[in-house]
């Protein structure tokens, strides 16, 4: 105890900042406990003690396992293809492959259902959710591949390892932290997902929570039921821990600071099949929802399209709220990530794990938590733009944390130690050494939060300033009336808002190695 405390006391600011950040992020969890105390427990028990609960929990667990495994395979495969091979048109494909995360799940689900009306249940939900969520694996894994050295793979190949074994024993090992982090996000996200399931007629435990809050006028019971999801979330976190991210960290020494090898696999005969695979992925993940949007625009009888002014205003609000929230989330993720990767004390890891839990709480419940606290303790800020931004960064904090942590784990601590030994103050080490090195992770985090926030609906409906519409609320308002023709432009703009940063980011990623290779 004393040794650990003394160790953390060496960086009181880091620990202090992390504690403050995690306290903020855990506000929704505090709300669950406060509300459970208020709710009639007999009512909650009666709801839990039903055959239906078992069915719903089983549905939830099945789906979480299937989609997490599928996303891991698809996401890692796509990242390898765009980062480690000479895939034709890989720059464009790298940008397209990320896009599904920026398409609201209800758009994706509606698109699939209008194509295949009989799609439903576990198979339907698995397909649609995997195609929507694999970017959560792809982005951290690609960032990790980008900042790790391909020379290790070349060495493995030169020592006679075949391509498959090189992939499994070297490449996969390099990206393990990022891969597990991505899987963690997917699994936690699934616990709390709602929008797509209601369209795909697949009921999970979260469906029950929504019904309790919306049909039953009982947010307290909804909060109490959410505790079950938190327990599942803890199980997922423990699973990830057991799967080995506990032994993470860079053992690469100084190797990865050399100008990294930019060698990419020549694909040879595998080129066309791989191109086809990535092409199909993009066609299914982006093509289907985009096709649906175009179809709605063209086929709808009622052509009361929204005015340009309302589109522009909704786009501007969506863009500015999401961008500020993404920046905030990335910044507050930094101390927690540094603490968990560099300190590795029990406190540091507990803080990091706790910070992830918010992802397992349904958006509607988080939204009510924010209403609860702001109405009581920050009434002046209630339904202000600033509160919505803070809400987004709390909700999507785990996305930023995983991205930053994965990137930091690839940076050898010796670089920071050298900085300190050269007499740099800790803050300067942070600014001049750590931050530049984790920039890809910070950007990936910014990007993930930004794209996810542009499609957020539940909290936006409750917290957006009165009289303001975002793209998501406007799409919801129109599609709730089945006026898909009027809703489609908002979905289209949502995509357009996402395409530009996606493209810029992939360009930036592409130039990264050459920039780093320049002599300082």
């Amino acid at each position: 105890m004393s040794a650990r405390l003394r160790r953390s006391a060496r960086r009181p600011w880091l620990v202090g900042a992390s504690l403050a950040v995690v306290a903020l992020v855990l506000l929704p969890l505090a709300f669950l406990f406060l509300q459970s105390a208020n709710s009639g427990w007999s009512h909650v028990w009666r709801l839990l003690w039903r055959h239906l609960t078992l069915t719903l929990l089983w549905n939830t667990v099945q789906l979480a396992v299937v989609v997490t495994v599928a996303s891991a395979v698809v996401g890692t495969g796509a990242a390898w293809a765009t980062e480690r091979t000479r895939l034709p048109a890989r720059r464009a494909l790298a940008a397209l492959v990320v896009l599904p995360v920026a398409i609201p799940d209800f758009v994706v689900a509606s698109g699939w259902v209008s194509l295949f009306p009989s799609l439903h249940g576990l198979p339907g939900a698995s397909i649609v959710l995997t195609l929507g969520l694999y970017p959560l694996v792809y982005l951290p894994v690609a960032a990790s591949l980008r900042s790790s050295d391909a020379a290790q793979e070349e060495v493995a190949r030169s020592l006679g390892l075949g391509p498959w074994r090189t992939f499994f024993r070297v490449t996969l090992h390099q990206v393990r932290v990022a891969l597990l982090g991505g899987c963690l996000l997917v699994a936690l996200y699934l616990l709390a997902e709602f929008g797509a399931f209601s369209i795909l007629r697949f009921q999970t435990f979260t469906t029950e929570i929504y019904a309790e809050i919306l049909v039953g006028f009982d947010p307290a019971a909804g909060a109490a039921l959410s505790l079950v999801l938190v327990v599942l979330g803890i199980a997922v976190l423990a699973g990830e821990w057991a799967a080995g991210s506990g032994s993470q960290g860079s053992r690469a020494g100084l190797a990865s600071t050399r100008p990294r090898s930019t060698a990419r696999s020549r694909l040879g005969r595998a080129k066309l099949p791989l191109l086809a695979a990535v092409g199909i992925l993009v066609a299914l993940g982006v093509g289907v929802p985009v096709g649906a949007i175009v179809y709605w625009l063209v086929a709808e009888q009622r052509t009361t399209l929204p005015g340009a002014a309302s589109l522009a205003s909704a786009a501007w609000h969506t863009f500015s709220y999401s961008a500020v929230a993404a920046a905030l989330a990335s910044v507050i993720a930094l101390p927690v990530a540094i603490l968990s990767v560099r300190r590795r004390s029990r406190l540091a890891l507990a803080l990091e794990r706790a910070g992830m839990l918010v992802q397992a709480i349904p958006g509607l419940v988080v939204a009510f938590a924010l209403v609860y606290f702001s109405v009581r303790y920050a009434r002046f800020a209630y339904q202000s733009a600033a509160l919505l931004v803070v809400g987004y960064s709390v909700m999507f904090f785990p996305l930023a944390l995983v991205a930053v942590r994965a990137s930091l784990a690839r940076v050898p601590p010796r670089l920071e130690e050298i900085g300190r030994s050269l007499g740099l103050r800790p803050t300067l080490v942070l600014v001049r050494v750590t931050v530049p090195l984790v920039l890809p992770g910070l950007l990936a985090g910014f990007f993930l939060v930004f794209l996810t926030a542009t499609t957020e609906l539940a909290a936006t409906l409750l917290l957006v300033p009165n009289g303001v519409q975002t793209l998501a609320t406007q799409f919801w308002a129109d599609s709730a009336e089945l006026a898909y023709g009027a809703a489609a432009p908002f979905a289209a703009v949502m995509l357009a808002v996402a395409v530009v940063p996606t493209y810029l980011l992939s360009r930036w990623f592409d130039r990264l190695p050459s920039r780093r290779a320049r002599p300082a």
Partner: protein, 357 residues
């Protein structure tokens, strides 16, 4: 005993935590304060009220535009699901930013009233609407109504296969043909009416049979259910009439593969749902808020509803719908009253007991 070094370390970490939190809070407060000041800055000298709108946004927008033009009062609209907005108002308690709440159904209004959050409606406003469609306590006013029945796919079911009563839908002959939207608020009045007609035990068995007949055909709302019947995913479903008319308006008559029909007169599946509006007790612009309520049920307001594509029945000022749906005074619904429907909790409990929710 803990060594001095540990204590010192603890103090330093604690001090840093508090400092970091304070700095964070100060920054946050500054940001929020700035936003609040910007938001509060008066844009015009006009009175501005806030409307929490749980009704279909398109119709509400038309009503609000006409009201603003007539009175000069500015209305900020917050759209949302009526139940979500109701919960939000309860959470906001005495400091709700909302002045007026406009809902699609009566149970959520009754729920707010039971929390003591609604102000009395001007008697002149209540007088415009038949008493049985207003709040029994005078705390909200009925604005429009719909009626329940069923939609069926005309290629999958012939006329002779149609049910006479909503109770018939429990029959095995609708197995695999029935679609259900148990979370849809419009379904609750039907459940209440069935329970009133046949008692708790039989109502429960009826719901369980519906669940069996529906199988995996469980939809999130009536809009989706109606579209599913029309596209042939499923053959029949219980809905309010206006969903079918709206779908026809959206798709065009040539794309309709379905029809809407009523159950037998006074059947439990033949129920009138009321959409209403209320002024919040916490409103600081009560006069302007009451004026909006008065406008909604005035001839001018109800005429907008009557000619809109919402396909609801206007309730105020004797206005009749201009749409080609069965006239309101020719309906023969179950005599379920708003007070009997209450806040819908009895229906909810029954749905939960049947494990449909």
């Amino acid at each position: 005993m803990r060594p001095a070094g540990t204590r010192k370390a603890t103090v330093r970490v604690a001090a840093a935590t508090i400092l970091a939190s304070l700095l964070g809070l100060a920054g946050l407060a500054g940001l929020l304060g700035l936003a609040a000041v910007a938001a509060a800055a008066p844009r015009t000298g006009r009175v501005t009220i806030t409307l929490y709108n749980g009704q279909h946004p398109e119709t509400t927008d038309a009503l609000v535009a006409a009201f603003e033009k007539k009175t000069g009062i500015r209305v900020l609209v917050r759209n949302g699901d009526e139940d979500q907005l109701g919960d939000q108002i309860v959470e906001e308690g005495g400091s709700s930013p909302a002045d007026v709440f406009y809902s699609e159904n009566s149970p959520v209004l009754e729920d707010l009233q039971s929390h003591g959050l609604l102000a009395e409606v001007w008697t002149s406003t209540l007088a415009e609407v038949p008493r049985r469609y207003d709040s029994p306590d005078g705390d909200w006013v009925g604005v429009s109504a719909r009626v329940s029945g069923f939609v069926y796919n005309t290629r999958l079911l012939s006329r002779s296969q149609l049910p006479r009563s909503v109770l018939d839908l429990a029959s095995p002959r609708y197995a695999g043909k029935l679609g259900l939207a148990p979370t849809e608020t419009d379904f609750q009045p039907v459940v209440m009416a069935v329970e009133r007609a046949v008692g708790h035990a039989r109502a429960l068995r009826w719901l369980e049979a519906l669940d069996r007949n529906a199988g995996s055909h469980v939809y999130p709302d009536n809009e989706t259910l109606t579209a599913a019947v029309n596209s042939g995913q499923v053959a029949i479903g219980v809905i309010d009439n206006y969903y079918w008319y709206r779908l026809r308006y959206d798709l065009g008559a040539s794309h309709m593969r379905s029809a809407f029909a009523y159950f037998a007169p006074r059947d439990a599946g033949y129920v009138v749902d009321v959409s209403g509006a209320a002024v919040l007790r916490s409103s600081r612009h009560r006069r302007a808020a009451e004026e909006l309520l008065g406008f909604l049920v005035s001839r001018r307001g109800e005429e907008i509803l009557a000619h809109s594509q919402s396909y609801e029945y206007p309730l105020g000022s004797g206005v009749k719908t201009a749409q080609p749906i069965r006239p309101f005074d020719e309906l023969r619904p179950d005599p379920l009253t708003i007070a009997e429907l209450g806040d819908g909790h009895a229906a909810l409990a029954l749905l939960q007991e049947a494990q449909l929710l």
